[in-house]
Amino acid sequence: MSLHNPTRNTATAAQAPQAPAPVPPAKPVPWRPLAAVLAVAVIAVASFWSVEITWSRLLGLPADIVRYLWLMFSNPNWDKLGEALAQTWRSVQMAWVGTVLGLLISFPLSFLAARGFAPAPVRGLLRMAFALIRAVPEIVIAIIILSVTGLTPLTGALALAVNSIGTLGKWGYESIEGVDPGPLEAVRAAGGSTSQVIRWGVWPSAMPEFASFWLYRFEINVRASAVLGLIGVGGVGDMLTSYTQYREWSTVGVLILVVIAVTMGIDAVSGAIRRRLTDGGKPQ
């Protein structure tokens, strides 16, 4: 046994001269990915080529950004802070109720829409419903609901709830289908029924993902109140659009600060919850 072999340098140095090169298998041509990339490239080129844009406008953009940031933040109109906070609270209320209602409804539905938990027709129907909700503009949903509950924040909450069902349902069945099949099989093998499989096979591993996109949807709903603000149910989004339209930049600055603070707060909470659920909240 040669522990030290000073004549050997590396694997190739000694082997390359005499040993014939190994014959690798023919490199397969990845037709499908190539076709996909090609299709995307063609569509992209066509879009860029056909769109009418004066790209030179981008040159002035940095200076403009600085100018508008100055307009917004050099002298913020703190008088409006109270109202901004009140309207934000209203947005948060609508968003919260919308999210809670949305998740209560979408949660069971997303299981029925996931492969392996319900018959195919039910699955197809539910996926179609989720897609339909996502296809209808928010404001149209809001107007339908408005004819039932009037120009109240309840309308806003219900509109957000309906909207949330579309996205939460989709995210839900996607992450259920992505769950590690092992534990699920173990529950099945122990004689568990479908609901028990969900409770003890799917829920423990899908929980962090569900929690994270529920919170993300809450964040979206807080921002989506901008559109609902238009119909008159209030919220900080309404203020933002109005003050922007009338170019009251110093107020817009205050509103942006409030919105950023709220979003970052939600993000921080959601990050903490996600860490707790995924790794038991161990110190990093």
Binding site: A186, G191, P204
Partner: protein, 271 residues
Amino acid sequence: MAPATTAVPPAPPGTPFAIRMREVTVRYPNGVVALDRISLDIEAGEMVSVVGLSGSGKSSLIRTINALVPVTSGELEVGGHRIDGARGRELRAVRGQIGMIFQGFNLAKRTTVLNNVLVGRLSHAPWWRTMLGAYTAADRRLAFEALDRVEILPKAYQRAADLSGGQAQRVAIARALTQEPRLVLADEPVASLDPPTAHAVMGDLRRINQDLGITVLTNLHLLDLARRYGTRLIGLRAGRIVYDGDAASADDAVFEEIYGRSIGAQDVLEK
């Protein structure tokens, strides 16, 4: 041989399960034939080891017995219940009495060891209790006893993710024991365990076989373990049974037949 369905009355409560396979073929959707016309009788109370190359169909055999993989053709009976074609409540009732130990443990990592073990009570406890996780004191006691039997009781309230490999393996065994099974199916339960731990686990399996009379079917990589702990040895190769006999008397020639001509040859790695 005539179908045994009507001949054998369903096993009375508490008696171990026997397994009868008649010309069972399992073909996966992608065309791979994992089991090729297997006929096999395992008596109640036997302790059987199954060996074979990677890809020879060991896992498929165990998973078929538990109906996790559907039978393509042939007849399969466990404890007097027809398994091929069984569905719904009946299948769940049979499965509830078969303890399964998975190759990859299949623990729910983000919940406690105890909750994982209590999965073994699902088919026995009332539905609402399993949903709320509010098991009876008796069920919990069964779970604690199983944990104690595999010497991991102190970890009961830890998250399954925080376990070492050997500990996770033992929790999977405890889960199977908590079912009060009449048949234990163990898929390579000691892979990646160090020798003392491996012997401890195999000893546990032998104990439940000998003390409680439960039928045990174990897939194994390690021949010495198969020889030492099994009373009967089954060798699989490419989905067929190439050896079936006494474990202790299986010699090197037998193993060479099961595993192929020579160690390191290229053909032993391919399907």
